[in-house]
Symmetry: C2
Subunit: 387 residues, 2 copies
């Protein structure tokens, strides 16, 4: 009881005495100007200068050679997995502690998610636990890895940078190479997060971003595939734009493909948002500092902070409850939300959802523990100075 | 030669002496005001009042009980087919004369397109030819129809209302009922087109719309599922919004689902566009009259006009070349486009595209003939008075 009240009070020390949502976009830059330009020129749809510019801007910002923008992060991951060689009935290793889209994108390829554990120091996939798990259930045949229990090929692993905190990619890269599997990074939450000076998304075959309304940069809805592989980028563009061969008038499409285009109207929003990303990140880093201060010396919970060697975008501020408070998590959420402070738990572990219950899974002690102890706090950049 | 020049001249009589595109959106109503409202209030993303309003407005306008807006017409059709009972490895009857998305949406369900012929009086699927084809290759087993040649179940038929001209739905409904297959209408091109007083999209289990940039009403990119079946609508909403169960904070998703949401920003554009649809249609009908006048008494080509009992939205103006001019179609396209008049042929027949060549197909004499003789003319409503 005292603990619950104390947590709510400490959050309110930072947010002030107002109702606050979990994450609100800040649209005070060139958003209106660029969107107005789209409407006044008539270029609102599937091609346009903002689509081209947003792709260039994203490539420049992430340091990836190529970016292909699409309608959302789930569709981006679906295509990224396909282009990285995932075949129907393969298994793809994904953290149980992730948003449901990570697993859905695997199923949209006809493949099966195979859930693995996370580590407490990154909140993301644990490469060493993965290594041990693959040693125990995996079997190399030629260049491919198979799951000895199910007989299915394990073709890829999808690290997801939880709340903007980078997974330990150097270790994961070594593990993936050792077992012969491809890395596709789900960087939906980590635009602006760096690891050893390299932007997340540059450690695998390709990576995916999301620009949903609650993300650090929004296009309303949208996503992107980023990659350093020119051929993969070319294929991604072709497959997400109906696979039409260029021609002055003929409609010749050369493979089964998708309409996953990001409209120019939405790309315009993205260009304006990306201009201000460093402002948002500075504000979020300041907000983390304030929350960390408010919880300093408190036994019941600590703010999750970036690891040395990383720069987190601090997309969602994350409180880790002390183990003995795990059972009171819902009480804390109830009290905070009742007080007008929008907070939420992390996702239900994916292996516990009805459609994924029968899928293969490693032992998940850390993910299970974290799932009971994470509380996300109000995280809008406006709470720490960004307009 | 004289024929080619004469056709270009007659088009120019209508368009005037300017460069004209095939179809440009007109965004002079409340588009900017509504989009500005989204940006100023911060409601640009996957939920918002324009999403709700656009769904209500679409239901009211089409006369369907329910509308669920999604990210585009292809995704709408993918979900509509799934919810109408199409299973992986089924066959779905689709006109060979359609945009590639009609067949892609079938493949996205793991099912196979089975191509059927069109009729010259509607440009759409020929129900009588279909009936004869199914008599010849179909076999009823219990409540289901099977293709005797492939052994696969034939579960649905997808009439597509070409360029806004309604398919003969009463005859098709009788044929579908006789053979035990479901109708899913691809009404991507026919928002505003009516048949015997009923809006297209109200003749099957459900129907899909598209709001791509070239459509009569645009959201940049977008689509919708319309239906009179409340349960199907509820399922469509659930499946296209990650299947999350409503809860104050918990992330509980109860099936493999999609992120096919239409952002509020795009729905705002749609609301403004739909306010003006009758203005656009009146202009397009006037444009058809002018083209028909310009080609009156000309032997080489005639403008395709709506059938009695229908009101077409005249989305794309359609010239049908005389049979003896079919071979000169590309010359005509070349001359018109060189003169700044954007014209185009109809789509390559879907059964001729590399990925669909091996799919089952009926005899397609009419589609093959039409594919050689159709030329679409500049069709923007601005060409006949709409601002």
């Amino acid at each position: 009881m005292a603990f619950v009240e104390s947590i709510v009070d400490r959050v309110r020390q930072v947010t002030g005495d107002q109702r606050v949502s979990l994450h609100e976009p800040s649209l005070k830059g060139n958003e209106l100007a660029y969107v107005t330009e789209c409407i006044q020129t008539g270029w609102v749809s599937s091609v346009g200068s903002f689509v081209d510019r947003f792709e260039c801007d994203l490539a420049r910002y992430t340091g990836a050679a190529h970016a292909v923008v699409v309608s959302n992060g789930t569709s981006a991951l679906q295509i990224a997995l396909h282009l990285s060689g995932v075949q129907p009935d393969d298994e793809v290793l994904v953290p149980a502690l992730s948003f449901v889209a990570t697993a859905n994108a695997v199923r949209h390829n006809g493949a099966w998610p195979h859930f693995v554990d996370s580590e407490a120091r990154t909140l993301g996939l644990d490469p060493q636990a993965l290594d041990a798990h693959l040693d125990s259930i995996g079997e190399r045949r030629g260049n491919h890895l198979y799951n000895r229990r199910t007989g299915r090929r394990i073709s890829a692993v999808v690290p997801m940078h939880t709340f903007g905190h980078p997974v330990d990619m150097p270790t994961l890269s070594a593990v993936a190479a050792r077992h012969g599997i491809v890395i596709v990074e789900d960087a939906a939450e980590s635009l602006g997060s760096f690891l050893e000076g390299l932007h997340t998304g540059n450690f695998g075959a390709c990576a995916t971003l999301s620009f949903n309304g609650n993300k650090i940069v929004t296009t309303g809805g949208g996503g992107a595939i980023v990659t350093n592989d020119a051929e993969l980028a070319r294929r991604a563009k072709h497959l997400t734009t109906t696979a039409k061969r260029p021609h002055a008038w003929a409609f010749f499409h050369d493979e089964v493909a998708y309409n996953f285009r990001l409209p120019n109207l939405n790309a315009a929003l993205g260009c304006a948002q990306l201009e201000r990303i460093e402002v948002f990140i500075e504000a979020k880093r300041e907000l983390a500092k304030r929350y960390a201060g408010a919880f300093a010396g408190f036994d019941g919970a600590t703010l999750f902070l970036e690891r040395p060697g990383t720069r987190s975008n601090y997309w969602l501020q994350t409180l880790i409850l002390a183990p003995e408070l795990a059972e009171r998590r819902d009480e804390i959420l109830q009290a905070a939300n009742a007080a007008g402070l929008m907070t939420r738990p992390v996702w239900e572990l994916l292996n516990t959802l009805p459609m994924y219950r029968e899928c293969p899974a490693a032992r998940l002690p850390v993910a299970e523990d974290l799932a009971r102890r994470i509380v996300n706090l109000p995280s809008s950049p406006q709470l720490a100075g960004a307009a």
